[in-house]
């Protein structure tokens, strides 16, 4: 191999600036996968931080919101004979169901993005060969998702010792993939979310108060969060049911990064309140309009 010299891309030298730290929500991590007009904005904002943390609970959200939906698309590839049939399959199975609207949207977006990016091959490959190619891409994305996630951060807080987040997607025989998220039950506690709540109760109560101040202006997610905090105050093991801990998801991610002074998220509806309640600054590099009262 000839050696490359001047035009070889070189990685930038390590900065000697003081370590700036940021705690990242799932919403920003996901933006980092998207088109350059979004991902580069996020990367640019993150470039100033040498320490980038997130929470294991954010990884669980990533698995639920993306890896599982990609797996749905992967399985759909097995159900059809040709790549052209994928659209019809997704439409007929997800499109009509309003409850599955977001899952449908993710599946369609992922497929569109894949097709837009891949080499146009209508003549050289058969529809079946194209299906195999799509499936392999999806398989690599799903199975490599956790390694990729870990490579994008410097530290993952795991105060809740979330068992479900630790379940990495696995390859099974016959091209099958296990990306199941287990259900948790109070009768069979697998994590430390209840202990985490107890240890950080004050922070959760600050969050609850902040949501109460919002009144009807609070988002649905925040209202659920407030209710869940109220229930957990009486019995923290309430959170040991997976259907309950999910109500606290953004709050869990935020409190997990309590040692970090700056949060970065792309869902202002929840994170403005969470950041204020915990006394943190919030960066949202993808915010279109400044917040009220913000320069």
């Amino acid at each position: 191999m000839k050696t490359a010299t001047s035009s070889v891309t070189k990685k930038s030298p390590i900065s000697r600036a003081p370590i700036k730290k940021v705690h990242i929500d799932t919403s920003i991590q996901i933006e980092r996968f998207k088109a350059p007009d979004r991902s580069q904005v996020a990367e640019h904002a993150l470039a100033g931080f040498r320490f980038k943390s997130t929470s294991s609970y954010a990884k669980l959200e990533f698995k639920r919101a993306w890896l599982q939906r990609l797996l749905y698309l992967y399985v759909a590839c097995e159900k059809v004979q040709r790549d052209d049939d994928l659209w019809g399959y997704i439409d007929s199975h997800l499109g009509a169901n309003n409850l599955l609207k977001n899952k449908y949207k993710t599946a369609v977006q992922a497929l569109q993005s894949y097709l837009h990016r891949s080499i146009k091959d209508k003549e050289s490959l058969t529809p079946q060969e194209r299906l195999i190619r799509i499936q392999a891409s999806l398989r690599r994305g799903i199975l490599g998702g956790y390694v990729l996630w870990n490579s994008m951060i410097t530290y993952e807080f795991n105060g809740t010792k979330c068992f479900r987040a630790s379940e990495e997607p696995k390859r099974l025989d016959g091209g099958k993939i296990d990306a199941v998220i287990s259900k948790c039950k109070r009768s069979q506690i697998k994590c430390a979310v209840h202990e985490f709540f107890e240890e950080n109760k004050d922070y959760f109560l600050y969050i609850k108060q902040a949501i109460e101040l919002l009144g009807e202006d609070a988002s649905g997610e925040l209202k659920d969060c407030k209710e869940a905090i109220a229930r957990s105050e009486k019995d923290p093991t309430f959170l040991c049911e997976s259907k309950n801990c999910i109500k606290l998801r953004d709050a869990l991610i935020a409190v997990d990064g309590i040692k970090i002074d700056c949060f970065m998220a792309n869902n202002d509806k929840e994170w403005v309140t969470l950041s204020k309640a915990l006394g943190k600054s919030l960066l949202n590099p993808l915010r279109k309009k400044p917040l009220e009262g913000e320069n």
């Binding site: 070889v8 891309t9 569109q112 891949s118 060969e129 998702g145």
Partner: protein, 193 residues
């Protein structure tokens, strides 16, 4: 006694024997988890590399997992040879030549999918990882080319195991090639919940 030499990927060779390691299957192929480890193949079997009384040099921290070889065949050898030759002659100083080489590489990878149906999932995964990287950008570093070269070497193997895929795909990730790069055309902002 049959001994198996294990190439750890760190230029060191370990020797174990089948009697001491029940995890080795009859094909002589198994998998070692841990950084830099690769599968053992029959081609690495040598006899009489240890004295009769010597204990095998087996590191217990290398947790061995039995994995059967994939029966399906590999990819188109001629195309793989051609890809290797192009990668080896890659000159990133010359923009025009780089573009011509990259164009050919992308075409070869596309051609490799024609026989991928008869290859193993592992072959398909590694091929997909390579294709994904080739589509990611237009200028590649020398390190990228070395990685592509090794990827082609892996693809030339008729038998691959999970660890081949794991090691190579992790290396791609740590060289900034995302396995989710196919999502990079998503422009919509409201699809994450």
């Amino acid at each position: 006694m049959i001994d198996f030499n294990i190439h750890t990927g760190n230029a060191e060779t370990q020797t174990i024997n089948k009697e001491d390691n029940p995890n080795l299957d009859s094909t002589g192929e198994t998998e070692i988890s841990g950084k830099g480890s690769v599968a053992i193949h029959k081609s690495n079997i040598s006899e009489g590399t240890m004295g009769a009384d010597e204990k095998p040099q087996w590191r217990p921290e290398l947790d061995m997992i039995v994995e059967k070889p994939v029966a399906r065949g590999g990819l188109d050898k001629a195309l793989l040879e051609r890809a290797e030759s192009i990668i080896d002659s890659f000159d990133s100083d010359d923009v025009v030549e780089s573009m011509i080489n990259l164009e050919a590489l992308r075409g070869i990878v596309l051609g490799l999918w024609k026989r991928a149906r008869n290859s193993s999932y592992y072959h398909q995964d590694i091929l997909s990882t390579l294709e994904n990287a080739l589509l990611s950008k237009n200028d590649f570093t020398e390190e990228d080319m070395e990685l592509f070269h090794e990827t082609i070497q892996d693809l030339k193997n008729e038998h691959l195991v999970e660890n081949h895929v794991k090691i190579i795909s992790e290396r791609f990730i740590y060289q900034d090639f995302s396995p989710l790069a196919f999502l990079s055309e998503i422009k919509d902002e409201d699809s994450d919940k």
